[in-house]
């Protein structure tokens, strides 16, 4: 166990980072939880009283049930398309392409993820708007087609969010696919399994942890997104995130916004609690 000198070293090395995180993350989250039980915004000078009203509002007002449902639906769409598009890319990079090409292509896939999210969402307006790239391309192929304006539509929001979060899915699937030993696949093949069977029975189940990690990393921020639906969806594709942002920046109803935030976190945790045993059973079956 650590002696006094070591203890001092440990304390002085970790204290700055963790004090910082306490002041900027953990105490604020606690403050927000407290705020969610107040009956009026801290901006109002008169003293506030503790209440469950904000949580009751979430459960009783139909608008929040709809918002929650739409958010979950949007999260499911985006996660599904990220998996559909991203998994084959991860598979190609992990199992098919080797050497310098793999390194270069991998970097190209990850690079946009580390560049500005807002700017990337903005760039889609250039493609989707009336007279944008997509419109022009379609009219170049079929001059008689009606004008295409996808901007400010639900598909635009889905496309933009898939573009934003796709690298997450590729990264997590790549890591778990990379970890699968080629000899396992060869063993299955030598025992007479066909390529599709090998994929369905061996490769995909073994890569499931990566799929789940990717899905969680995408689903959670999509539910909380507000900038993407605002820019690409206009009034279409309303999310819980947009409503929370509104409570803080427009209507200044902080307690309601705080309560909605915690309900959002609760829903995510609930989904994890439901999903975890299912996934565990799947992966346990492999052992």
């Amino acid at each position: 166990m650590a002696n006094a000198r070591e203890r001092r070293a440990i304390l002085s090395l970790t204290a700055p980072a963790y004090l910082w995180l306490t002041v900027t993350i953990f105490l604020p989250l606690a403050a927000m939880l407290y705020c969610s039980f107040l009956n009026k915004s801290p901006l109002v000078p008169t003293p506030a009283v503790a209440t469950f009203a904000n949580y009751i509002a979430f459960f009783t007002r139909p608008v929040y049930r709809d918002l929650t449902w739409w958010s979950l639906e949007l999260g499911a769409y985006v996660t599904f398309f990220c998996l559909l598009v991203g998994y084959p890319v991860a598979y190609a990079l992990a199992k098919q392409i080797k050497g310098r090409w793999r390194e270069a292509l991998f970097l190209m896939v990850i690079l946009p993820f580390w560049s500005n999210a807002l700017v990337r969402i903005f760039s889609w307006t250039m493609v989707l708007r009336n007279g944008g790239l997509m419109d022009q391309l379609i009219h170049w192929v079929a001059p008689d087609a009606p004008p295409i304006n996808l901007l400010y539509s639900y598909p635009a929001v889905v496309i933009g969010l898939v573009h934003s979060y796709l690298p997450y899915m590729i990264l997590t699937c790549y890591i778990s696919l990379q970890a699968i030993d080629d000899s396992v696949v060869e063993a299955a093949a030598s025992l007479g399994a066909r390529t599709t069977t090998i994929f369905r029975r061996v490769v995909f189940p073994m890569s499931l942890p990566g799929v789940i990690a990717g899905a969680a990393l995408i689903f959670v921020p999509v539910i909380g997104s507000f900038m993407e639906p605002r820019i690409l969806g206009g009034t279409k594709g309303v999310t819980l995130g947009m409503s929370i942002e509104e409570q803080f920046m427009v209507t200044a109803n902080w307690p309601l916004g705080a309560a909605l935030s915690f309900m959002m976190l609760a829903i995510v945790l609930l989904l994890c609690a439901i999903g975890y045993p299912l996934v565990k059973r799947q992966t346990d079956g492999l052992k």
Binding site: Y18, W20, F26, M32, F106, V119, G241, S261
Partner: protein
């Protein structure tokens, strides 16, 4: 071997084609945006006529320039603070066994996994109550908090493969602890620290959500200013500043990649 050979068949070709299409999907919008920033027409009309008019008008847009300077200054301070504190914590985790270590490591995940929207609004509430308030200092506080976990994880990964023997050898040969740190530990640690610093810079320079909630009226960072401009209506000027940002942040990540291999490739 057999799997690799099979991969070159039709399935392999389809996968490669798919990969190409995905790269197009990822890059075409960015390229279109960049190209249009050099187009003369204000309404994004074709034919394309090369012109630097939007970059020139950007040069006289004080609001965006001020926001850009704010973003750069915050990102630089954030990089120094987060890298220093994060590296210290990573060193403690790598060197010492102590009670509560796994709890401290676990505490790095909430800042990464809780949506920025929730963290940003929580900061807004807490900073209001404590009198820290909104402003560039609050934005800096928030950015460092988001960068710290990344720094600790990236430097920690480098330290995990650290040859402890070299330090012990230096000590045996009579080096003082400071000499050992400066001549042995620091050079080995350097690539990890540089990569972490670049990550921290990118996290701050690209951060929109936290800054959005902590920016008081009239004081902005670049992403917040761009968001406000987009909401008012697009102009090629936004394309110009966006193109600059994309080039800067992609450039930083390309440099980072030189120091830090992504994706577990050896």
């Amino acid at each position: 071997m057999s799997t690799r050979e099979k991969g070159m068949g039709i399935g392999g070709l389809v996968l490669r084609l798919h990969l190409g299409l995905v790269l197009l999907f990822l890059y075409v919008p960015i390229i279109v945006m960049a190209v249009l920033s050099f187009n003369q027409s204000q309404l994004y009309e074709l034919p394309f006529t090369f012109d630097l008019v939007w970059y020139k008008s950007l040069a006289s847009n004080d609001r965006l320039i001020d926001a850009g300077i704010n973003s750069l200054v915050i990102a630089l301070i954030n990089t120094v603070v987060a890298t220093a504190f994060g590296t210290m914590a990573a060193l403690a985790f790598a060197r010492y066994q102590f009670r509560g270590k796994s709890l401290l490591q676990l505490l790095l995940f909430p800042p990464i996994t809780i949506p920025w929207l929730v963290i940003g609004t929580a900061m807004l509430v807490f900073f209001f109550w404590t009198g820290i308030g909104r402003g560039l200092h609050a934005i800096l506080l928030g950015h460092v908090a988001l960068s710290l976990p990344y720094v600790i994880i990236v430097v920690g990964a480098r330290l995990a493969n650290f040859p402890r023997m070299m330090e012990e050898a230096a000590a045996t040969l009579g080096a003082t602890p400071w000499q050992t740190f400066r001549r042995v530990t620091a050079p080995i640690l350097a690539p990890g620290v540089v990569a972490a610093a670049l990550f921290a810079f990118a996290v701050s320079f690209d951060q929109f959500v936290i800054s959005y909630f902590l920016a008081p009226p009239g004081v902005t960072t670049l992403p917040v200013a761009i968001y406000a401009a987009i909401r008012k209506g697009f102009t090629p000027e936004i394309n110009a500043i966006s193109t600059i940002i994309i080039v800067v942040s992609m450039g930083i990540m390309l440099i980072t990649a030189r120091f830090y291999r992504f994706g577990g490739e050896r």
